[in-house]
C-alpha cells in the first residue's frame, strides 16, 4: 500500500516497495530523526541509500540522530517553480551540516541535510524570519506534518544555541 499525503496542495506519495524511504519516513512520522547506520563501518548516511557509500555493506540499522547543526549554504527562492510554493514566497531552502559525524570520515564530509526554514510549529517561515538566517546560523530539526504517515524533517532557528553575531547572507536584499 502506498502512503499518500497532500502537502501545500502538492501530492506526496511513498511507495511500499521503496523500503529505505518507508523506514526513513516511519520515524519522521513519529517526529524522530533516524538515519541508516552501517553494520560494518558504523558510519551514518543521508539521504537513505541501498548500501554503505564507504564500505559497500548492504546491512544497516536505523539509528536515532540528534537534529542539530549549522547552515552550510542556502538559497532564498523568490520565484516559485512549483505551484505549491507560490503563496509562500520568499522561502528558504537550507543545507545544514549536522553536528553528528561532521568532518568524518574525511574533513570535507558531513551529513548535509536539506530542509526549509520553518517556524517551531513546522510552518514555512514568514519573510521577517527568512531575513535573519544565513550561513552559520544554528538550527534544530522540527517536523512538518503532511498527512498520516508522512512528515517532513525541517529546520527552525535553535533558540537555545549561541548564534553567530551576523550569519553570512547574500549581499543584495
Amino acid at each position: 500500500m502506498s502512503i499518500t499525503a497532500d502537502y501545500l496542495g502538492m501530492s506526496l506519495r511513498l511507495d511500499e516497495l521503496d523500503g529505505e524511504n518507508v523506514a526513513y519516513f516511519k520515524h519522521c512520522a513519529e517526529h524522530s530523526f533516524h538515519l541508516q547506520q552501517c553494520d560494518d563501518c558504523k558510519l551514518l548516511r543521508y539521504p537513505p541509500t541501498t548500501a554503505c557509500p564507504w564500505c559497500m555493506s548492504r546491512e544497516a540499522k536505523w539509528a536515532p540522530v540528534e537534529g542539530k547543526g549549522a547552515v552550510h549554504s542556502y538559497t532564498e527562492v523568490h520565484h516559485a517553480i512549483q505551484p505549491a510554493f507560490q503563496t509562500h514566497l520568499p522561502y528558504l531552502i537550507l543545507l545544514v551540516d549536522l553536528d553528528t559525524q561532521k568532518g568524518k570520515p574525511t574533513a570535507d564530509e558531513a551529513l548535509r541535510v536539506v530542509g526549509n526554514l520553518v517556524t517551531p510549529d513546522g510552518k514555512l517561515a514568514p519573510p521577517e524570519l527568512v531575513k535573519t538566517v544565513g550561513i552559520g546560523t544554528r538550527v534544530r530539526m522540527v517536523f512538518s506534518d503532511a498527512g498520516p504517515g508522512i512528515s517532513l524533517p525541517q529546520w527552525t532557528i535553535d533558540e537555545s544555541a549561541t548564534q553567530p553575531d551576523k550569519p553570512w547572507r547574500y549581499p543584495q536584499e
Binding site: 502537502y7 502538492m10 501530492s11 506526496l12 506519495r13 511513498l14 511507495d15 521503496d18 524511504n21 519516513f25 548516511r45 543521508y46 539521504p47 541509500t49 557509500p53 552550510h72 549554504s73 542556502y74 538559497t75 532564498e76 527562492v77 523568490h78 520565484h79 516559485a80 517553480i81 512549483q82 505551484p83 505549491a84 510554493f85 509562500h88 522561502y91 531552502i93 543545507l95 574525511t106 570535507d108 564530509e109 558531513a110 551529513l111 548535509r112 536539506v114 530542509g115 526549509n116 550561513i135 503532511a146 517532513l152 553570512w168 547574500y170 549581499p171 543584495q172
Partner: protein, 418 residues
C-alpha cells in the same frame, strides 16, 4: 595558439587526433517552433549532413540524448533515409554532448559503424520547460524526490544554488563579477544573427533584474528555447574527404562525477565542481594545458556555471574565478573568449551541443557572423567586434568545451584545427 613544441604527436594517446567533427548543424532558435521534436531533429541532422558535404548513405551511426522530452533516433534516421548500423538514445541533459562524442569515437573504433551523427531536439520553451515550470512541476512527489521537490528544491537554479552561494562565502566572489559573464555573452550574441537574445546588457542590467532564487537574478539564468542541434563524428582519415577544414578531437572526458553522485553535497568543498576531477583526464589526454587554449565553451546554464568550471579546470587559480570572468579575458577581443555565440545565456538553450558547434566553426575560421562572404563561400572576417560585427577569433587553433550537468557532474573536450 599553436600547439606547444614539446607536445608528442607521434604516438596519439587515447585516440588523440584520431577522430574529427566533420559536420555541424542546427535549426533556428525560437520560442514556439510550431513543430514536433522529430521535425526539429530531422532539420538539424539534415543541416549537419549537408554541412559536412555528405549524404544519408554516409551516416551509419546515431546517438541522441534527452530526458523524456524528445523523439528517438530511428525516427530521424527513417525520415532522412539513413540505414543505421548503430544507434542509442541516452538519458541526460547538460554534459551529454562531450560524453556522447567519446562514445561515438569508441563505437567507431570498435568497428561497429563508421560515421555517427549526434543530435539533441527539444521544445524547451513550448513543450517541456527546461526551467521545470509547467507539467514537470505538477507530477506527484515520490521516492527520492521526497528529499528534494517536497522542499520546493527542484529546478536547476534551486538545486545548484548551494554551490553558487557557498563559492561567494568561501572566496568573496561578488554578484557584479559573476554578472560580467552575462554581459560578455550578450556582447557575443549581438554578433550572432542566429541568437535569440541579441541585445547587449551590462553588469548593472543583470544586478537590476529580479531575483529568481538567490544568488541568481533573472539575467544570471539562461534562456529557454525550441531548437535542435547536430554534429557528425568520424575518423580523422575519413574526415579528409569532408567539405571543411579538419577539426580534430584531442581529448574527451565524459560525465565525470564528484563522490556521492546521488547527492553530491555530502562531500565538500561544495564550492568545487566536477571539473576538479575531469581536468585530470582532459589535460593529460590532450597533451596540453589551459594556457594553450584560445577559446573556451564553458557551459552557461547560469553565469556561475561558466565561472566555476573555468576555475576548476585550471584557467585561473581556485577562488579567482570571479576575477577571471570580469577582467575582460572572456570577451571577444580578450585573451580567451568564452561562448562566442552567446551561449545558453543568449543564443539559445540546447543542453550543450551549440557550444561545441560554435567552437568547431571557430576552428574552421568560419563562424557565421555578419561579415561578407567571399567568392570561395567563406566569410571575410574583419575582427572588429563592435555590435553587429565580427565574432571570429583571430588565429583560433585550440578550443576547450566544458560541459555541465550539475555541480557534481561534468564533461569536457579539447579540439584543435588541423
Amino acid at each position: 595558439m599553436p600547439l606547444p613544441a614539446d607536445t608528442d604527436v607521434s604516438t596519439p594517446k587515447h585516440l588523440r587526433d584520431k577522430y574529427a567533427i566533420v559536420g555541424v548543424g542546427e535549426t533556428t532558435y525560437t520560442r514556439g517552433s510550431g513543430m514536433t521534436t522529430r521535425a526539429l531533429g530531422t532539420w538539424a541532422v539534415r543541416n549537419a549532413i549537408l554541412d559536412a558535404g555528405l549524404t544519408a548513405a554516409d551516416i551509419d551511426g546515431m546517438l541522441s540524448y534527452q530526458s523524456g522530452d524528445s523523439t528517438f533516433g530511428p525516427f530521424i534516421a527513417g525520415d532522412l533515409g539513413i540505414r543505421l548500423n548503430f544507434y542509442m538514445d541516452v538519458f541526460g541533459g547538460g554534459s551529454s554532448t562531450e560524453a556522447l562524442i567519446g562514445i561515438a569515437m569508441g563505437v567507431i573504433e570498435a568497428g561497429m559503424c563508421k560515421t555517427v551523427v549526434i543530435f539533441r531536439a527539444m521544445n524547451g520553451y513550448s513543450q517541456v520547460r527546461i526551467g521545470g515550470t509547467g507539467a514537470r512541476s505538477a507530477v506527484p512527489v515520490t521516492g527520492d524526490m521526497l528529499h528534494s521537490r517536497a522542499y520546493g528544491w527542484q529546478s536547476a537554479g534551486q538545486t545548484f544554488s548551494f554551490t553558487f552561494m557557498r563559492h561567494m562565502y568561501d572566496y568573496g566572489t561578488t554578484p557584479a563579477q559573476v554578472a560580467a559573464v552575462r554581459a560578455a555573452h550578450s556582447a557575443h550574441a549581438s554578433n550572432n544573427p542566429k541568437a535569440y537574445y541579441k541585445k547587449r546588457v551590462t553588469v548593472e542590467d543583470v544586478l537590476a533584474s529580479r531575483i529568481i532564487c538567490k544568488p541568481l537574478h533573472l539575467l544570471d539564468c539562461c534562456v529557454e528555447t525550441d531548437n535542435a542541434t547536430a554534429i557528425i563524428v568520424t575518423s580523422a582519415d575519413r574526415a579528409r574527404d569532408a567539405r571543411h577544414h579538419r577539426v580534430l578531437i584531442r581529448a574527451v572526458a565524459g560525465r565525470v562525477c564528484k563522490p556521492r553522485a546521488d547527492m553530491h553535497y555530502q562531500t565538500g568543498p561544495i564550492s568545487t565542481v566536477a571539473g576538479k576531477y575531469a581536468r585530470e583526464i582532459l589535460w593529460p589526454n590532450a597533451g596540453i594545458g589551459p594556457q594553450d587554449v584560445d577559446v573556451t565553451g564553458s557551459y552557461d546554464a547560469f553565469t556561475f556555471t561558466t565561472m566555476l568550471q573555468l576555475e576548476d579546470y585550471g584557467f585561473c587559480k581556485k577562488g579567482d574565478g570571479g576575477q577571471y570572468v570580469s577582467d575582460g579575458t572572456i570577451r571577444l577581443g580578450g585573451k580567451r573568449p568564452n561562448n562566442t555565440s552567446g551561449g545558453h545565456q543568449c543564443e539559445g538553450y540546447t543542453h550543450g551541443m551549440s557550444m561545441v558547434i560554435e567552437n568547431v566553426r571557430q576552428l574552421r575560421h568560419d563562424v557565421d557572423d555578419s561579415c561578407p562572404v567571399g567568392p570561395d563561400g567563406k566569410r571575410k572576417h574583419t575582427y572588429d567586434y563592435k555590435e553587429g560585427g565580427c565574432r571570429q577569433v583571430k588565429g583560433c587553433e585550440v578550443t576547450a568545451n566544458l560541459g555541465w550537468a550539475n555541480p557534481g557532474t561534468g564533461s569536457a573536450m579539447v579540439m584543435r584545427r588541423d
